[in-house]
């Protein structure tokens, strides 16, 4: 394992402290229990949005705390759900009286810990669960689909509504709509190494890729020989379009997300391939996002998310945002 690390026990604490110093104009970092909150107190009457999850997906979620997005984020250990006391403390710190909406990715550990945090918090609160990964079969009898990169879009779009005086119920409703309108699938070329493990999460050949990989390096649909970008992108989009079935005149947001180890040059190439394929299928791309937003440590690979946008979603996507990892309009 080659990583910038001093000792394992302090890995997360040191990284969070550095994050706090680097972005001290936007956020504060609280340790023990760990949460990242906005530097400026949430204004009275604004619904607070809190997300969180295992670390290792940076900039998600701490990099999305700030105006127009989250009010707080609760980082767990690498790839491990945060603990209920973190959610409780974050909620108590940011809630201005309008209530708290927890944004939770669909993993058993996250669901349980957020549920307990919500039970421990005495103020008004509600939750939405993201589950945009079309690589996994959805079924009422199973844990269902994983929550992956579309969580970024949910946080941005609902964050804007909260900033524009949306109520807790309205924020939840919009969040659920964005999640339902989004589909994501990822591909990994290499594995990733959890610092505590010291060795790669899975073995993968030099000429292989994991098609439908999860954001923790969980296996996906199948292991295949690596192919041309156009073929990979085509296969990903086929799975997403199968699932989302966007209408002919519908506007869409195309989000190409890096897993941490793939350079932007390649991500833009993926974007270009995706645009061409979507155009040939008559799917209109109106908005774009390209970059490393929902990563898996140093994994090489990318995911593609397509989000069907109505006017409400478009308006809140364009609205100003100022966070460590996403900034426009202000």
């Amino acid at each position: 394992m080659k990583k910038f690390i001093n000792n394992n026990d302090d890995f997360l604490k040191e990284s969070l402290t550095g994050f706090g110093k680097a972005h001290s104009d936007i956020i504060n970092v609280n340790l023990d229990p760990s949460f990242i909150s906005r530097k400026n107190k949430t204004k009275d009457g604004k619904v607070s949005l809190i997300s969180g999850g295992g670390s290792g997906h940076e900039p998600m979620h701490g990099g999305f705390v700030g105006h127009g997005m989250l009010d707080a984020a609760c980082p767990g250990f690498v790839f491990s759900a945060p603990t209920p006391d973190q959610m409780q403390a974050a909620a108590e710190h940011v809630d201005s009286g309008a209530g708290v909406l927890f944004i939770v990715k669909n993993y058993s550990g996250d669901i349980m810990n957020f549920e307990m945090g919500a039970e421990m918090y005495s103020g008004k609160n509600d939750s939405i669960i993201t589950n945009d990964d079309v690589a996994v079969e959805d079924s009422t009898f199973t844990t269902g689909r994983r929550g992956v990169a579309a969580t970024v879009l949910v946080e941005k779009i609902v964050g804007s509504l909260a900033e524009h005086s949306g109520s807790l119920e309205e924020c939840k409703k919009l969040g659920e709509k964005v999640n339902k309108n989004a589909g994501t699938m990822g591909v990994a070329f290499t594995s990733c190494t959890v610092p505590a493990a010291g060795k790669p999460t899975f073995d993968i050949g030099d000429d292989e890729m994991e098609f439908g990989v999860g954001i923790h390096g969980e296996p996906g649909r199948k292991r295949e020989k690596i192919q041309q970008s156009k073929t990979i992108v085509g296969n990903i989009l086929e799975a997403i379009l199968d699932n989302l079935k966007p209408g002919k005149n519908e506007k869409n947001l195309l989000f190409v997300n890096g897993m941490g180890g793939t350079p932007l040059t390649e991500l833009y190439l993926v974007y270009e391939d995706a645009c061409q394929i979507l155009q040939s299928k008559g799917v209109e791309v109106t908005k774009s996002l390209v970059g490393n937003y929902c990563t898996s440590l140093e994994m090489q690979g990318a995911s593609i998310t397509l989000l069907k946008c109505d006017d409400e979603i478009l308006k809140h996507w364009d609205a100003p945002v100022h966070t460590a990892a996403m900034r426009w309009g202000m």
Partner: protein, 208 residues
Amino acid sequence: MSVSFLISQAKNVQKVIDENSAEIEDLDQKIGDGDHIFNIQRGLKLVVELEDSIKDLPLAKALNMIAMKVLSGIGGSSGALFGTFFMTMAKSSDLDKDIDFNKACEMIICGIKAMKERGKADVGEKTMMDVLLPVSEKLNELKNESEFKSGLNEVIKIAEERMLSTKDMLATKGRASFLGERAKGYIDPGARSSQLMIDAICKSVINN
């Protein structure tokens, strides 16, 4: 059951888990995401380190401190589930009285029931509940027997059988559920760690 019993069992379990950590880590990397063993080890370390602060406390307080430590110090599914287990045990009635085998069984049964509700998982879904629920049922049969040591041998056997049975299951809950058929052929890491804990505790009770 007493505070000193809890402390000695935490050390006992810690030793067994450490000895088998490579196997659990490997199973989790195959069908999960590899964090389970680190969470369990971190939790056990935190509980063992509580010794000085809890050894002179009444049982209810000690259990409560263990619960809060597990809940706030572990994270992941294990933190929520085992935190729920100890929190439920701490809420049992009459903890200031002598805790005999019958009462201890009742506390553990309630704890496992609460874990089942928290995780919304049942037998047959390739999780730690595949081991814990049958063990809880067996304890329910055994709790009023005066000769419980032979019964504990049966608990050990059930835990092992049920742990092994997860190998050919299709996962429908937890991280492994995302894998579909590909999770088949591997024992569930949570079932394995739970079985190891039960095995270590039962053996220690039988031999003392």
